[in-house]
């Protein structure tokens, strides 16, 4: 019977295209770089406008402001000569020109060049070959290129996010582009799904599913939908976190009583206990170099964040302010720790600078959960509640840029921002 239920859940995972996340920008950076992105010559032949997607990407980052580009005669293209005084008078600091051309094999070629208007130089350009189905992916790669050239840090427009949508009694684990488009359902179930965690190569997700009436940790390959149990012991199995090399998972298990941390190989073999406390230890996460594990524990009387060697050993307390600090996540550079702090009854995202020990509160909402760093560390995705509905929200690590991501008629929760795609 249980197998049947699981099978039905998996069969149902096929279709459902009504759940696209819509993104609303609710706060922007103090200084946004003005950029002109001219319509790409010939882009009308493609199903979506590349220049429109690039502009939306860059504006959504909160670091750019798109400048209106009036029609030119002849139309601007990748090969047009650039009149720097004209763009300076339009108050643009940067300019993107591009063209799309059909190839004889049915595919298209898109070329673009990026200019620094202030310095009056060309910063570079790239050409891509694409099918009509690859328009969005190609546009995101152009956005990543422009973003990196102008800010010096890698863009995350080509990355993906995972999250859980609850609609009525149905739970769906979905994967979408970082802009919320192109969502696909990886797992649908009538039982809760929580704590999705991306493997470092972005090809697998570990998560906790209640499909067999109790929490069990699964590893799910996104390419072929194959999944296997990584931890199913007596009691609860939860909170999977990948080691940076993708070979192992840290998990919280109650098999020996309480909730304690263990390491297990990603295939479910080689279980090894990490903590021995009398209370709750959960929510492990590896430091980017793999040497430490940050986790939540109530060993000191209230839930706080601790750090211990990844092989086990003595733990040191990391958070000291307040009586409820949970859900640690570490930035890719290992310098900042984001977590959920309870401030006078409000659960908010806090950011701790591990070197200076400075803590700042990044959000003004009151039911924040599950923070997740973008792979470049610039934004933090989180779950929160507004108007009684679960939504996702993103906030920049300086607290200035804010976005809201919601689906029509459903609760969204448990976000996890995927890694850079090679």
């Amino acid at each position: 019977m249980r197998l049947l239920i699981a099978a039905i859940a998996l069969l149902a995972a096929a279709s459902s295209a009504t759940a696209q996340l819509s993104i609303e920008i609710t706060g922007a950076g103090a200084q946004r770089l003005p950029i002109a992105i001219a319509p790409f010559a010939g882009e009308g032949a493609l199903p979506a406008g590349i220049s429109t997607i690039v502009r939306a990407d860059l504006e959504r980052s909160g670091l750019f402001r798109g400048i209106e580009v009036p029609p030119h005669n002849p139309a601007l293209s990748e090969g047009s000569s650039v009149s720097f005084p004209e763009w300076k008078s339009r108050l643009a600091d940067a300019l993107v020109l591009g063209s799309v051309a059909a190839r004889s094999d049915g595919r298209y070629e898109v070329r673009f060049r990026l200019f620094d208007i202030v310095k009056q130089t060309q910063l570079g350009g790239v050409a891509y070959t694409l099918t009509p189905q690859q328009v969005r992916a190609t546009a995101h790669r152009i956005s990543d290129y422009v973003y990196e050239k102008l800010t010096g840090e890698k863009g995350v427009f080509s990355t993906r996010i995972a999250y859980v949508v609850k609609r009525g009694t149905r739970f769906e684990l979905q994967i979408a582009d970082a802009d919320g488009a192109g969502e696909e359902t990886a797992l649908a179930s009538f039982e809760p799904i929580i704590s999705p965690a991306w493997s470092p190569d972005g090809k697998r997700l570990a998560y906790v599913s209640f499909e067999n009436k109790k929490p069990i940790v699964y590893v799910h390959s996104l390419v072929d939908g194959k999944r296997h149990v990584a931890a199913n012991f007596k009691g609860s199995n939860s909170a999977p976190a990948w080691s940076p090399d993708g070979s192992r998972l840290a998990v919280a298990l109650s098999r020996d009583g309480g909730s304690q941390l263990f390491l297990v190989n990603a295939d479910g073999s080689g279980l090894q206990r990490l903590t021995n406390s009398s209370g709750i230890d959960t929510e492990p996460v590896f430091s980017p170099d793999g040497s430490s594990i940050y986790f939540t524990s109530d060993r000191g009387g209230s839930p706080q964040i601790y750090r211990m060697p990844a092989r086990g050993g003595d733990a040191q307390r990391v958070t000291f302010e307040g009586t409820y600090n949970v859900s640690p996540r570490i930035s890719r550079d290992g310098k900042s720790l984001a977590y959920i702090a309870r401030n006078g009854g409000k659960f908010q995202v806090a950011l701790l600078d591990l070197a200076t020990k400075q803590v700042i509160t990044l959000t003004d909402s009151d039911k924040d959960e599950s923070p997740s760093f973008a792979p470049n560390g610039r934004m933090i995705l989180l779950a929160t509640v507004t108007g009684g509905r679960g939504i996702l929200s993103a906030v920049s690590s300086d607290g200035r840029v804010k976005q809201r991501l919601s689906v029509a008629a459903g609760d969204v929760r448990e976000p996890a921002w995927g890694p850079f795609i090679q």
């Binding site: 609860s236 009583g257 309480g258 909730s259 959960t282 959960e369 599950s370």
Partner: protein, 186 residues
């Protein structure tokens, strides 16, 4: 006897729903078809022959009322409530846990599942661990009172299966809970 009758009526009503109009007519006492002879006054009427009633007694089936579910039995009380962020069993629930421990002791082959739950506030994973501590606190008390380890499994549903919806103190209090389920109920 009364219960059997009620059950029989219930079954009959269900049967009626599924039956055709012709069958309903066949059960009639009077024949009102045009041209039919009116019943003769004073004539001897035939006793109406009915098939014997096949009674269904839901109270004797699994899931029906038993010592575990009869509202007058202390064993029908299955929920133990907890304070916010706590996992110690409050004194007022001691008699309830004692009653279940006694039942497990007297019925050595009976198995029980305890599901720990939390309110919606805070981290889902921390709440899953908190729910586990709650179910284990109840289990520990049962074992101290004579139940055996292999009879009781403690699991957690965290905040994922709220009994009460809404974000009120009342809903939260109802959801900070350990539930006792016996074999056949989970």
């Amino acid at each position: 006897m009364r219960r059997v009758c009620i059950a029989a009526v219930f079954v009959a009503v269900l049967a009626g729903c599924a039956s055709t109009p012709e069958e309903q007519e066949a059960a009639g006492v009077e024949d009102r078809k045009p041209g039919a002879k009116p019943p003769t006054i004073g004539a001897q009427t035939q006793p109406i022959k009915q098939p014997p009633v096949a009674g269904v007694d839901l109270t004797q089936r699994p899931g029906g009322r038993s010592i575990l579910t009869d509202p007058s039995s202390p064993l029908s009380k299955r929920s133990i409530y907890f304070d916010y962020d706590r996992y110690d069993v409050r004194d007022e629930f001691r008699p309830l846990v004692e009653a279940h421990a006694r039942y497990l002791r007297d019925n050595a082959s009976t198995k029980m599942l305890i599901q720990g739950n939390t309110d919606e506030r805070g981290s889902r994973e921390y709440n899953l661990a908190l729910g586990q501590r709650r179910s284990e606190a109840i289990k520990r008390m049962l074992l101290l009172l004579g139940a055996r380890e292999e009879q009781v499994e403690a699991v957690s549903l965290g905040e994922e299966k709220p009994k009460a919806t809404g974000s009120t103190e009342d809903a939260w209090a109802q959801n900070r809970r350990g539930d006792i389920l016996y074999q056949g109920e989970f």
